[in-house]
Symmetry: C2
Subunit: 372 residues, 2 copies
């Protein structure tokens, strides 16, 4: 009974760890001598934080970022203690001691967090933290007004040992957007108050805005996982995921028959349909209805009708009949049709495609860390 | 350090098991003397299959449906053996013995599955299965042509012990759609070949099409979890989930400042903004950008700009300042703004809202089975 879960799986998400590491190395080389961190929040964008982070650590990455305390706690047990794990959201009231216990570095975003952490740091005889300043997102980080008020005090704060000064770009994927240079100028100004402190402004897209955006370290996430950091130019990153869905049934339908919920698609010629075990509960968005596609033996085939919770139907009339059989697979993401292409069909961005997958999909990994 | 994960959680999904069971009882009473199964696929539509199924079992439910073998294996360990667990997708080639080992009842959808199962059933001296016939979905189940060819043989098959004959409605949420009566007529005709076999056509919406659609048992899913089975009429079901997101930071912004990625929202008056730890990696869809809302102390407040992976920003200018503080919560789903309302804002259906949540959200349960 100990069959391989991948053999019985409905949908399989294959993660190429060699490719993930190659993407990290490419960015690290591009920004050197600046350092290259790795953002592995949201379970490494759905690819599996333990596996992906171990691969980065084996390749030499020493700075990791997650979003929440729970993500940090989970990651701490899988990484060497020489790796720093920073938590973007910082502590919510009452949770600061968890950061200390699990050796996590909070990113402090607002005055209350900063004051609470300073108090705990004094009790512990000094604790690390990063400081987040807002330069144009209006999301997390000290506002300019707050920064101006607190800057002198913060740079002299002795119990909180500052490990980094960070900010985040709002429009880095639009190189011509005027906000980029404005954020750069604001950040450079704020940085003067913290001489010698490692500073970081750029995430994936920011890396491609040029050297002056790199500062002391960069924090890529999306590009590591194959998302194009410069949407209007050829993608320099490797595709690192492949997704395939199991064919459960193949049927012949006549002209005029309807397919799926709402009878929303009516076939206009006799067709061969394959019902595939992938649906929106697997993260294959319902917005793919009538628009998505899959590949069977090199042939790109349209998705018909509405995506349902567990199933989607493809017109395999043009596909190789020997491949269109129950138990076979239709390719849903591959090197030719990557996450950005799927995002365009689903009306979203590659980031959301990745984070939605992997709930029910069986994940398998190619290239474990010691082979990288 | 053993703090309650809910205390440090970013987003909390509260599941009301008393309400879930009340919904099941309401449907069971409506269809009696027909039996009422429970569909708990996709982790009980994101609410947690182990907890929700245990509550149904305690209330007297004895028939459960999941989508995949893996879901069936996971559920088998949490339910009494007196509960039947049927798997909609049936066996993929090579996995049939797993069904036997884990005492799962496959739903057989196509001729190959039926033949393979019959062979294994002969080897085991008889095994249970359900038969799925397609009456208008063109998704899973024997086509009319296949059924006609196989019906006599199937009704006499002695090794496969048929436990049910099922089909599925395509347009049950549109009571006036002509396909409903057509599917009913086709199903009634097919049923004649299987005298005495429990038959089932209706899921949540089908239950509300009237008694003639009920047959021997019904298979609700969505309605159990509060989704309106009749979209154009008042919802007879109880809302059973509440979702809240943690406020991480509150800031004052001036007229003309932009918010979030792409600087896609510019505030047109001085405002107070709250950054909340909920994003599309939590299943709060990016399509909520510029459209969603939340509630703070009774006040409904707009979501501003784009939803990002881990965060969303709300305009709390009109909210109670004593509640708009870091560590507090903004209500995202509640009795007044339920899953269907959220779905309308996100451009999808309540089903997808539910199945997307619960990946990173902390789930807590009110009303455990022994209290139901």
């Amino acid at each position: 009974m100990a069959s391989d879960p991948a053999d019985r799986a409905s949908a399989v998400l294959e993660v190429d760890l060699v490719g993930v590491v190659a993407n990290w190395r490419q960015l690290a080389a591009r920004v050197a001598p600046a350092d290259c961190a790795a953002v592995v929040k949201a379970d490494a964008y759905g690819l599996g934080a333990p596996q992906v982070s171990a691969a980065f650590a084996a390749a030499g990455c020493r700075r990791f970022f997650v979003a929440t305390l729970d993500e940090g706690i989970a990651l701490r047990s899988t990484l060497p203690t020489s790796c720093e794990i920073a938590v973007f959201n910082g502590p919510v009231p009452g949770s600061a001691e968890e950061f200390v216990f699990h050796q996590l570095v909070p990113v402090l975003n607002e005055p209350g967090q900063i004051a609470d952490w300073a108090e705990i740091a004094r009790r512990h005889g000094g604790l690390p933290a990063m400081l987040h300043v807002d330069t144009g997102m209006a999301r997390l980080g000290l506002s300019t007004r707050e920064f101006t008020r607190l800057a002198d005090e913060l740079s002299q704060e002795s119990a909180t040992r500052w490990r980094g000064l960070i900010s985040h770009l709002a429009c880095a994927d639009q190189p011509a957007h005027p906000l980029n240079d404005l954020q750069l100028a604001r950040f450079a100004l704020m940085r003067r108050h913290f001489a010698g402190l490692p500073a970081s402004l750029a995430a994936s897209s920011g890396i491609f805005l040029g050297r002056k955006f790199h500062f002391d370290f960069v924090r890529p996430g999306a590009a590591l996982y194959g998302i194009n950091p410069q949407p209007d130019t050829p993608n320099p990153m490797r595709q690192v995921v492949r997704l395939k869905g199991r064919i459960l049934q193949v049927r012949e339908v006549e002209r005029g028959e309807s397919v799926g919920y709402g009878a929303a698609h009516v076939v206009d010629h006799p067709s061969r349909l394959a019902t595939v075990a992938i649906g929106y509960a697997d993260g294959w968005f319902r917005s793919m209805s009538h628009r998505g596609s899959g590949r069977l033996g090199g042939e790109r085939l349209p998705l018909l009708g509405r995506v349902s919770m567990d199933l989607a139907v493809f017109d395999v009339s043009a596909g190789d009949p020997s491949l269109a059989r129950p138990g076979g697979f239709i390719e849903l993401l591959d090197d030719d049709y990557g996450v950005d292409a799927a995002a365009a069909d689903a009306g979203t961005i590659g980031y959301e495609i990745l984070t939605a997958l992997g709930r029910r999909c069986q994940r398998i990994y190619r290239g474990m860390p010691n082979q990288c």
